[in-house]
Amino acid sequence: MSRVVVGGIRDWKDFGFLFLCIGATWVGILSLAALLVYVFWDAIGWIDWQFITSPPSRFAEEAGLYPSLVGSIFVITLVGILSLPLGVGAAIYLQEYSTSSFLTKLIETNISNLAGVPSIVYGLLGLGIFVSTLGLPHGTVIVGAFTLTLLILPIVIVSSQEAIKAVPDTLRHAAYGIGATRWQTIRSVVLPQAIPGIMTGTILALARAMGETAPLIMIGAATSIFTSPRGIFSPFSAMPLQIFAWSDLPQREFQHGVTPAAIVVLLIILLSMNAVAIFIRHKYQKRRR
């Protein structure tokens, strides 16, 4: 989109206003920079092989992230396995099957409302449904995975819908024209085209799930645990929970050493997930041209 370049800076009011707007933008950028610089600076010297492979400890030098790192990866993998088919399935129904505009509108409104529900309330949902009603054991991998799946489903559905919407109708018409059924059209024409967009949205949603703390506290996940989960019914901890537990400790070695080290590990994983998502989107945009 091109902008008109007439009417530039002409008087002090113009200049002052531009100055304010640039200043405001810098506040955001500088906050991000300050956060990253402080945290990375404090983490230097604390992230090493021992930190990645040890269980937590009350001695800062021996403390490690291993059980919560494994816990996070385990839970997020399950969330991915659950939310991808469910989210894409819902998106396919809304974009390809639904003929009732009332029902579609109802479900879409509902999804956008769900996206605005605070994450801690999903924790209460998990506690009330999966633990109290279904009787699944408190604080286990399976309950965490179910809860986080429900939390990110709205994001997965909306981004999958966008990806499916972007597939041109001409392709569908061509498939129907040679006698394909609706499912055949979806499977061999729509989905292959939409998969990069779906993957981008899903990875971003999983990154969101990986950073969540409050819902996991509500379902009773451990804030600090010494063994990594052995199965889906094992109790677990996740990196944000471990960070929460450590940030509560008053010792300097924890406040300015172990905690920022854990934050850096978490941020590196989240930024890598974002980078993968951006890479997929970029590659896909190139291919489409």
Binding site: L18, G28, S31, V39, L114, P118, I157, Y176, A214, I243
Partner: protein, 312 residues
């Protein structure tokens, strides 16, 4: 001519076999899951909150000024928690809304395409940082910094939490407002320039009012997010439930408070059992929180659809 896919597929590509129908039903149940989730949330909150209100009267819950669910004598007044939540929400909005709109004006009206392509995603990274990290940042870096300006500040205080939540919701405001401003057609700007207006006048008297519905919607969503924010306030703002006097700004901001969300985490981490009143109070507070954010989200959608300016 564009054929509506729904019309087209009613002629061709009909569900011809059993497997086609089974697949359709699978996808339908996926879509239905989101509705079931909503029903589940409402159901869980209402059922457990109702049990709570059978033990503690709803009048006491909304009028008592003391909250101490785990210390005897237990008292369940939600007012201190609501006041804490509103305090943090208000001050984070004071930080984020003007900064967000000003950034949006810069990105939409002034910045070159190249600057925008770098700055907008960079701001959005702020929204992707886990909230627990913001809590740590407020407690370990911001509060010590603030104590140089306000020596009387407590180690846990509402101000540091408000600042980080303001930073956290800033990209929501700037991104969504910028989208709304970019949707304002250039012809309106050109008309302004044609009358001899400066960029300042065009931005503030043409673009800003034209994008107002989108900007308001972004405000409400950001405020709703601040209300439901949990970890930053749990870590940085303390766990001291008190009714805040919003006009005594120093007392309100420099001392510990407790929000609804922080109180829920506190109960969630304590060893209360599943059938105690304290445990049930979790759901009563959760329901209050859910109703508040739900109303905000509905309002945001209403403003967006009602006052949406459709430009060709």
């Amino acid at each position: 001519m564009v054929v509506e896919p729904s019309k087209l597929t009613s002629l061709t590509g009909k569900s011809r076999s059993l497997s086609e129908r089974v697949i359709k039903w699978f996808f339908f149940s996926c879509a239905l899951l989101s509705v079931i989730t909503t029903i589940g949330i409402v159901f869980v909150l209402i059922v457990d909150a109702a049990e709570f209100f059978s033990k503690v009267s709803i009048i006491e819950f909304f009028t008592s000024t003391r909250w101490s669910p785990t210390i005897k004598p237990a008292e369940y007044g939600v007012l201190p928690l609501i006041s804490g939540t509103l305090l943090v929400t208000f001050w984070s909005a004071v930080i984020a809304l003007p900064l967000g709109v000003a950034s949006a004006i810069y990105l939409s009206e002034y910045a070159s395409e190249r600057v925008r392509a770098i700055v907008k995603p960079a701001l959005e990274i702020l929204a992707g940082i886990p909230t627990v990290v913001y809590g740590y940042f407020a407690l370990v870096y911001i509060t010590p910094l603030l104590s140089k300006i306000f020596p009387s500040i407590s180690a846990f205080n509402a101000l540091s939490a408000s600042i980080v939540i303001g930073i956290m919701i800033l990209p929501m405001v700037s991104s969504m407002s910028e989208d709304a401003m970019r949707a304002v057609p250039n012809t309106l700007r050109e008309a302004g320039y044609g009358l001899g207006a400066t960029k300042f006048h065009v931005s503030t008297t043409i673009v800003f009012p034209a994008a107002l519905s989108g900007i308001m919607a972004s405000f409400i969503l950001a405020i709703s997010r601040a209300i439901g924010e949990t970890m930053a306030v749990t870590i940085a703002a303390g766990k001291y439930a008190r009714v805040v006097n919003p006009f005594n700004v120093g007392d309100a901001l420099l001392k510990p408070i407790e929000t609804m969300t922080a109180a829920m985490v506190e109960i969630g981490m304590s060893d209360v059992t599943g059938d105690s009143v304290a445990y049930k109070s979790l759901f009563a507070v959760g329901l209050t929180l859910f109703v508040m954010t739900f109303l905000m989200n509905v309002l945001s959608q209403y403003i967006k659809s009602k006052y949406r300016e459709v430009y060709q």
